[in-house]
C-alpha cells in the first residue's frame, strides 16, 4: 500500500514523514526544502498490523494547478501514480488557506485522511475547530496531530491503513458553481462557508505580533544585511575557530596524529605484515582519511548551528533581505534558498534551483550556487587557516564573505555576458519565529556526521590508496626513492604549468587540486599522503610542511582556487541534470573555472606586490592572461548587448 503525504508548504509534512518512517530528511519552515518526492517504509511502531506500507513525501503546494516546479511534482504523482491513500496535512494554524487544496484533493477519487496538524499551536492561540462538523462537511476522516511531539500519529496511521484497505472511493465535495467557468471562486466560497461553521478564532491574524516586530529589525532596510553577515560570521567563526576548531585540533593532533597511527603501526608490526603493506595502510589509508576525519568535529558543529538557524525561521527573512540586492543582478530572493542549502552540500543546493520559475534565474542560480563553500570544502579551509593564519581569526569566516561577493560579481558578469532580464516575481511565506529544536539539530548533526564518515571511508579511502600508490611507484611499477619520479608527479606535471601564473609551483599542488574534483576533501587527504614522506610532523601544524609550497598570500589564493573552480563531479552531475543541456553545462563549467582561476591569479599577483613588495612567480604570463580575459569579456558583453536578443531564453 502506498500512502502519499500532501499539503501546503510548511504544514509539517516532512516532520511527520520523518516521525513515521524514522528517516532524517531535511526539514525547513520555508517553502522549497523538499523538491523531489521521497519514499520510505513505515516504522514498525506506526504499523502494528505489520502491513506492507510505503510512505511518499511530496513537495508542499498550495493548489493542484501547477504554478511552481514543486506543485507539478505533486500533481503528476497523484494523478499519474494513484496512491492508495492521501494523507492531507492541514496546517491547523491556517485552515482557511489549506482547505482550498484539500477540496481539490478530495476530487481525485483517492481516499483522503486529513491530519489536522500543529494542534499545539492552535490550542495555544485559543482557537477552536469543530472537528466532527468539519469531517462531516468534507466527507473524510480527520485526526488532530502534533507531528513535532508525535501526538496522534498512531491513530492517524491506523485510520489511513484502514481506509486504504477498504478501497472505497472518496466522496467528492459538492458545491454550487463547481462546474461553472468560475469554479475556483466557487470553491473558495465553499471553503469560506465551512470555515465559518467549523472554526472559532480568538486571534486577529492581522494584528502586529512579536514576530512582526522582530522582522522589522532583522529584515530592516539598512540593518538587515549587517545582521545577516553578523549571524553568518558568528556561526562560521564558532565552527572554524571556536568550539569546532578546538575539537578538530585535538582530534588532528592527538587522535589521528599519534594514537591511531601508533596503534596501527604496532598492531601491523605485531602481525608481521610486510613493511610495504604497512606503509600503504598507515601512510596512505589512515594518513589521508585521518586527515579528513580529523575535521569531523568542525563539520558537526557547523551543521548543528545551521540546523538551529534554519529551524528558527530566520532563513525566510534572509531571502527577503537579499531580494533587493539579488534583483539588481537578475536573481531574486528565491535564489538564496539553493545557496543556503548549498552551504551543506552543493548537490541538494543545485537541485533546489528547480523551485525557481524563471529559466534565466534558474540557470544563473545553478551556476552560482557551487560558489558557496560546502561541508566538503570546510576541511580545506580549516587546514589552510590552521597552517598559515593561526593568529588571524578573521580569515576562515572571511572566505564566506568572499563567496557572497563572488556570487554578486558572478551574477553581474553572467547578466552582462548573456544579456539576461529577470521577469520573476518574489513571494515568500514568513513563518512565525520559534525556538529551534535542539533535538532536531542534534539528529541532523549525527546524520551529517555519518554521511561525512561514510564518504571518507569509501570514496576518499579509494582515492587515497591510489594517490599513495601513484606517488610511491613509477610507470614501470617500480618503487621510487624520489617522489618526483613517480606516476603522480608525471601526471601532476602535465597540469602544473597552467598553475604557474597563479603562483603555484610544484606538481603536488596540481595533483591535489585534481583529486579535489572527485571529492573536495581529497585536497586535504592528498597533501597528507604526499607530505607524510617529507616530514614526520602533522600536516596542520602552524608553519608546517605545507609552508614549503606556499607563502601566506599564495596559500590564500590556492584556497580560493579550490573553492571557486567547478565543484566535485557529483555536483557537476547535478548541474548537468538541472541545466538540461550540454551547451549550458560547458558554459557553466567554463564560467566557474574562469572565475576561480582569475580570482586566484589576482590574489597571488596583487597580494604579493602589496604584501611583499615584489611580484610573485609567473607575473608576466599572469598579465598576459588577465589582458586576454579582459578582452574576451568586453567583446562578449558588447556582442550580447548589441544583439539585444535574450540569449538565455532561446537556448
Amino acid at each position: 500500500m502506498r500512502i502519499a503525504l500532501a499539503g501546503n508548504p510548511n504544514s509539517g509534512k516532512t516532520t511527520l514523514y520523518n516521525a513515521i518512517t524514522g528517516k532524517n530528511e531535511n526539514v525547513g519552515n520555508w517553502s522549497g526544502v523538499t523538491v523531489a518526492k521521497k519514499e520510505a517504509d513505515i516504522k514498525k511502531k506506526y504499523n502494528p498490523k505489520g502491513m506492507d506500507v510505503r510512505i511518499v513525501d511530496l513537495p508542499g503546494t498550495y493548489s493542484i494547478s501547477p504554478f511552481t516546479g514543486e506543485e507539478k511534482i505533486t500533481r503528476d504523482f497523484i494523478l499519474g501514480e494513484k496512491p492508495d491513500v492521501i494523507i492531507n496535512i492541514v496546517d491547523g494554524a491556517n485552515i482557511s488557506r489549506s482547505l482550498f487544496f484539500t477540496t481539490q484533493l478530495l476530487e481525485l477519487g483517492v481516499p483522503v485522511v486529513i491530519a489536522l496538524n500543529k494542534s499545539d499551536i492552535v490550542s495555544k492561540r485559543g482557537d477552536q475547530v469543530d472537528v466532527d462538523a468539519l469531517s462531516k462537511a468534507l466527507n473524510c476522516r480527520i485526526i488532530t496531530t502534533t507531528a513535532t511531539s508525535e501526538d496522534g500519529l498512531l491513530k492517524l496511521m491506523n485510520e489511513a491503513i484502514e481506509v486504504g484497505t477498504d478501497k472505497k472511493p472518496q466522496i467528492q465535495p459538492d458545491f454550487q458553481g463547481k462546474d461553472s467557468k468560475d469554479s475556483d471562486t466557487a470553491r473558495q466560497k465553499f471553503v469560506d462557508d465551512i470555515i465559518k461553521k467549523c472554526q472559532v478564532k480568538n486571534r486577529d491574524a492581522s494584528k502586529v505580533t512579536l514576530s512582526d516586530k522582530l522582522d522589522m529589525i532583522v529584515a530592516h532596510k539598512w540593518l538587515g544585511l549587517p545582521i545577516f553577515f553578523a549571524v553568518m560570521w558568528a556561526v562560521f567563526s564558532f565552527s572554524i575557530e571556536g568550539l569546532g576548531g578546538y575539537l578538530s585540533g585535538y582530534s588532528n593532533d592527538i587522535l589521528f596524529g599519534e594514537i591511531v597511527p601508533n596503534a596501527a603501526n604496532s598492531f601491523l608490526e605485531g602481525m608481521g605484515v610486510s613493511p610495504l603493506l604497512q606503509a600503504l595502510i598507515v601512510d596512505g589509508a589512515i594518513g589521508g582519511v585521518g586527515a579528513v576525519i580529523g575535521f569531523l568535529p568542525l563539520v558537526m558543529v557547523l551543521f548543528f548551528c545551521l540546523s538551529l538557524l534554519e529551524d528558527s525561521g530566520y532563513m525566510a527573512r534572509v531571502a527577503v533581505v537579499m531580494d533587493r540586492f539579488f534583483k539588481k543582478i537578475g536573481l531574486s530572493g528565491k535564489s538564496i534558498i539553493p545557496m543556503i542549502v548549498g552551504s551543506g552540500c552543493a548537490i541538494p543546493g543545485v537541485m533546489a534551483t528547480r523551485t525557481i520559475d524563471d529559466i534565466n534565474e534558474r540557470r544563473m542560480t545553478t551556476i552560482l550556487t557551487p560558489f558557496v563553500p560546502c561541508g566538503a570544502k570546510l576541511p580545506i579551509i580549516a587546514l589552510f587557516v590552521a597552517v598559515f593564519f593561526p593568529e588571524n581569526v578573521w580569515v576562515g569566516p572571511s572566505i564566506y564573505m568572499i563567496a557572497i561577493g563572488m556570487i554578486i560579481l558572478g551574477g553581474l558578469l553572467l547578466q552582462r555576458m548573456f544579456d539576461w532580464e529577470n521577469t520573476s516575481s518574489f513571494i515568500m511565506e514568513l513563518p512565525e519565529y520559534k525556538i529551534p529544536s535542539i533535538k532536531y539539530a542534534f539528529s541532523q548533526m549525527i546524520d551529517k556526521a555519518k554521511a561525512f564518515i561514510y564518504k571518507a571511508t569509501t570514496i576518499i579511502l579509494v582515492c587515497n590508496t591510489f594517490v599513495w600508490f601513484a606517488q610511491a611507484y613509477s610507470w614501470g611499477l617500480n618503487p621510487v626513492e624520489d617522489q618526483s619520479l613517480s606516476i603522480l608527479a608525471s601526471l601532476g606535471s602535465l597540469i602544473a604549468p597552467l598553475l604557474i601564473p597563479l603562483g603555484f609551483v610544484g606538481w603536488q599542488l596540481a595533483a591535489a587540486s585534481i583529486t579535489g574534483f572527485i571529492a573536495k576533501e581529497n585536497v586535504v587527504a592528498t597533501f597528507a599522503v604526499l607530505l607524510a614522506v617529507a616530514s614526520e610532523e602533522a600536516l596542520h601544524l602552524p608553519g608546517g610542511v605545507l609552508a614549503e609550497f606556499f607563502t601566506p598570500v599564495t596559500a590564500f589564493a590556492y584556497l580560493a582556487f579550490n573553492l571557486f573552480t567547478p565543484p566535485c563531479f557529483a555536483a557537476i552531475g547535478a548541474m548537468n541534470s538541472e541545466l538540461g543541456s550540454k551547451k549550458w553545462l560547458f558554459r557553466a563549467l567554463g564560467f566557474q573555472f574562469g572565475v576561480g582561476y582569475t580570482l586566484a591569479m589576482l590574489i597571488t599577483q596583487i597580494g604579493s606586490l602589496v604584501v611583499y613588495g615584489k611580484p610573485a612567480v609567473g607575473f608576466v604570463p599572469a598579465i598576459i592572461i588577465t589582458a586576454l580575459i579582459a578582452v574576451y569579456l568586453v567583446v562578449t558583453i558588447k556582442k550580447s548587448g548589441s544583439k539585444g536578443a535574450k540569449v538565455g531564453v532561446e537556448a
Binding site: Y62, F100, Q188, D212, E429
Partner: protein
C-alpha cells in the same frame, strides 16, 4: 488604489489582481482575490509584508503593484 500605496496597518478588501495569469492564480490559491481581506503589516527591505487569511507573506514591489484594493 494599489497595495503598494496602502497605509501600514490598514486592512482592505481586494478589488482585483492584475498582472501575469500565473501570479494571479498563485495569489488566488493563497486566498488573495476579489473581495478577500488583505492587511499591509510593514514594508521591509523593499518588500511588502502582508497578511492574507492567517499567514504572513513578503511580496516584492512588482507584485504589490498588481494587487488593486477597494478604497
Amino acid at each position: 488604489m494599489l497595495l503598494s500605496k496602502a497605509k501600514i496597518g490598514q486592512t482592505f478588501n481586494v478589488k482585483s489582481v492584475e498582472g501575469k495569469e500565473k501570479i494571479q492564480k498563485f495569489l488566488f490559491s493563497l486566498g488573495c482575490f476579489e473581495g478577500e481581506e488583505i492587511t499591509l503589516i510593514s514594508k521591509l527591505a523593499g518588500n511588502y509584508v502582508v497578511n492574507i487569511k492567517d499567514s504572513r507573506y513578503a511580496i516584492d514591489e512588482g507584485m504589490a503593484k498588481s494587487i488593486v484594493l477597494e478604497a
